[in-house]
Amino acid sequence: MTESELMNQRSAPSDEPILSVEGLTTHYETDDVDSVVQAAENVSFTVSRGQTIGLVGESGCGKSTVGLSLLRALPPQGSIVDGSVYFDGQDLTTFKKKEIKKIQWNRISMIYQGAQNAFNPVKTIDTQIREALAKHDVVPKNQRRERIEELLQKVDLDPGVADRYPHELSGGMKQRAAIAMAISCEPDLLIADEPTTALDVVVQAKVLRMLLDLQEEFNFGMVVISHNLAAIMKVSDDIGVMYAGNMVERSSAENIFEDPQHPYTAKLFGSIIDPQRPPKQVENIPGVPPDLRNPPDGCRFADRCDLATEECSAQMPAFEPKNESTEHLAACFHSEEVSR
């Protein structure tokens, strides 16, 4: 079977989302038995094949937790306590460890934050990509080398890189090799956690371009996690804005840029450093996110929000459609007053 046949078979175009996250709630245990870190609360979104959703928010808002939850790759202290992750119609939260191992990398794979350490220093790139191919038996043994070289070429690396050790590659090369490894089993869903963070600006653009090209070729759904709003706008069809474990706004990238409905989103846009604007206009958001071990009852952003009223601190606003559009959701009592 050729690659394209294989691809067509695996990713028949469909409107059915490949991933549907419903009310995902993930907590981390702490040393104190009575308190948990509520890292992600009631997060919902969908992704279809060939489509990308970008999760944005500042550090510690639960983006990576959501990403790891999708892959069921949380550290031992973390667990999904509520909600569902429907992948290709099946709820992954109900899977046993053994079953999830068959999905991991084979159908859902991930590009991790910090690609500098994505590879084991004492093993060649070939060995490490081959391991994934062998584990999921996606290519016959005698064709694995060929596949690895093909993958490396797809990410603009010399096929000879296969025989190199990680320390012999530059940061950008390692990141590309990590991408090659992530798509090695032709996944249906790719989670990219801060794929460009440690790279210089030129390489960042290249890597993002590459992800889009690969998505076009392989037709996988993509969840891109980043705190770099500018970068994420470029690659995403939809944007989900996260704050302190909640998803506070979700819409198409265009809508959210033109007409944000949550004050936090508006502030995020205001904080983008744009060379065309004088630095004085770059806003910062005063204050810090709440302690997720003991988050406030109401809107978690209320403390830092200019528009906040008593209502905001008293109860959590519903995550509901705004602007007469069912596609643009936000959790704010004062959406009409939000302006950029």
């Binding site: 790759a73 990398w105 690609a115 500098q116 590879f119 220093p121 093993k123």
Partner: protein, 328 residues
């Protein structure tokens, strides 16, 4: 951190280190007995020991010759493998004395080190894998206990319990007085029987070192991204541990092993003393007490040369196992 050095350049550089260290060893080895207070005649000092007799003795041992002459002689002899005759057991050759002790020491230390690596490395890996859990706490506390108690005290305790209270092992030595062996097998069986307690004592101490080293090394590796990735690649816990975590974690253990292999020929003075085990440690101790210059030089030379060689081998092995050392 890309290195520009090739594997062969690394080899040459490392051999260079070895040569320099070897020359230093030759000099220091000659100097040490001579800078120690006293000389071979010291132990005879007493009412009947005249200055005349002392001078005669020094003359006989060649210690009245000028220093450079002594050094030259020592250098030539050492490099041709001639360690001379022992002063305190005159005229037994030093080489013969060492060869009598060496096999026993090699056996004692070899068994202890192998045993402790075989137990300590997996134990440390297991502890790290179960970090913070009951098994880990048990391993850590146990290792700390055996690392902290003095070996000679443990040796005495072992003797008291397994040699006296429950007399299943001999109280010391390597053979009962007057034993005649019918063959090699017979000899070995008796050697093992006499070595069990010293080996267990030494191992208890060594194991802890390897356990701690492996545990710490693995704990450094486990939070690495590539371990998480290996897990999400679909590998089982066992595969992740043995294929991805242990190989890089075991590298420091190899360096440590290099140090310890050197000690194989040095023996363990304290433990050998408690068990009256006639090994290299005891021989060295006696040589120092008697200011037996040739014997000190011979035993120290053998010890340091083994350490140097073992370190060289460990480094080369390290370069072979870790691609980051010496680019390809």
């Amino acid at each position: 951190m890309a290195t520009t050095e090739s594997k062969s350049e690394f080899l040459v550089r490392r051999l260079g280190h070895f040569t320099v260290a070897f020359c230093a060893l030759l000099v220091i080895n000659f100097a040490i007995p001579r800078v120690m207070p006293g000389d071979p005649t010291t132990q005879f000092v007493g009412p009947g020991f005249t200055e005349e007799a002392r001078q005669q003795m020094l003359e006989q041992f060649g210690l009245n010759e000028p220093m450079w002459e002594q050094f030259l002689l020592y250098l030539i002899n050492t490099l041709t493998g001639d360690f001379g005759l022992s002063f305190s057991r005159y005229p037994t050759p030093v080489f013969e004395l060492m060869m009598e002790r060496l096999p026993r020491t090699l056996f004692l230390m070899g068994a202890s080190v192998s045993l402790s690596v075989a137990i300590g490395v997996p134990l440390g890996a297991f502890g790290a894998w179960k970090f913070g859990q009951r098994q880990d706490v048990l391993i850590t506390q146990g290792s700390l206990f055996f690392r902290s108690i003095p070996t000679f005290w443990l040796a005495i305790l072992m003797l008291f319990v397994f040699g006296y209270l429950i007399p299943i092992f001999p109280l010391g030595g390597v053979s009962a007085a007057g034993t005649e062996y019918t063959g090699l097998l017979d000899y070995l069986a008796d050697l093992i029987y006499h070595s069990v307690l010293p080996i267990v004592t030494l191992s208890a101490y060594f194991v802890a070192g390897y356990t701690f080293l492996m545990r710490a090394s693995l704990l450094d590796i486990l939070p690495e991204n590539y371990i998480t990735i290996a897990q999400t690649k679909g590998l089982s816990d066992r595969e992740v541990l043995f294929r991805h975590a242990v190989p890089p974690a075991v590298l420091p253990v190899i360096t440590q092993l290099g140090f310890q292999i050197g000690r194989l020929v040095g023996g363990a003075i304290l433990v050998e003393a408690v068990f009256s085990y006639p090994g290299m440690g005891q021989l060295m101790f006696e040589a120092v007490l008697a200011r037996d210059f040739p014997l000190i030089q011979g035993t120290f030379f053998l010890l340091t040369l083994t350490v140097l060689t073992a370190m060289l081998i460990a480094d080369l092995l390290y370069a072979f196992l870790d691609p980051r050392v010496g680019g390809s």
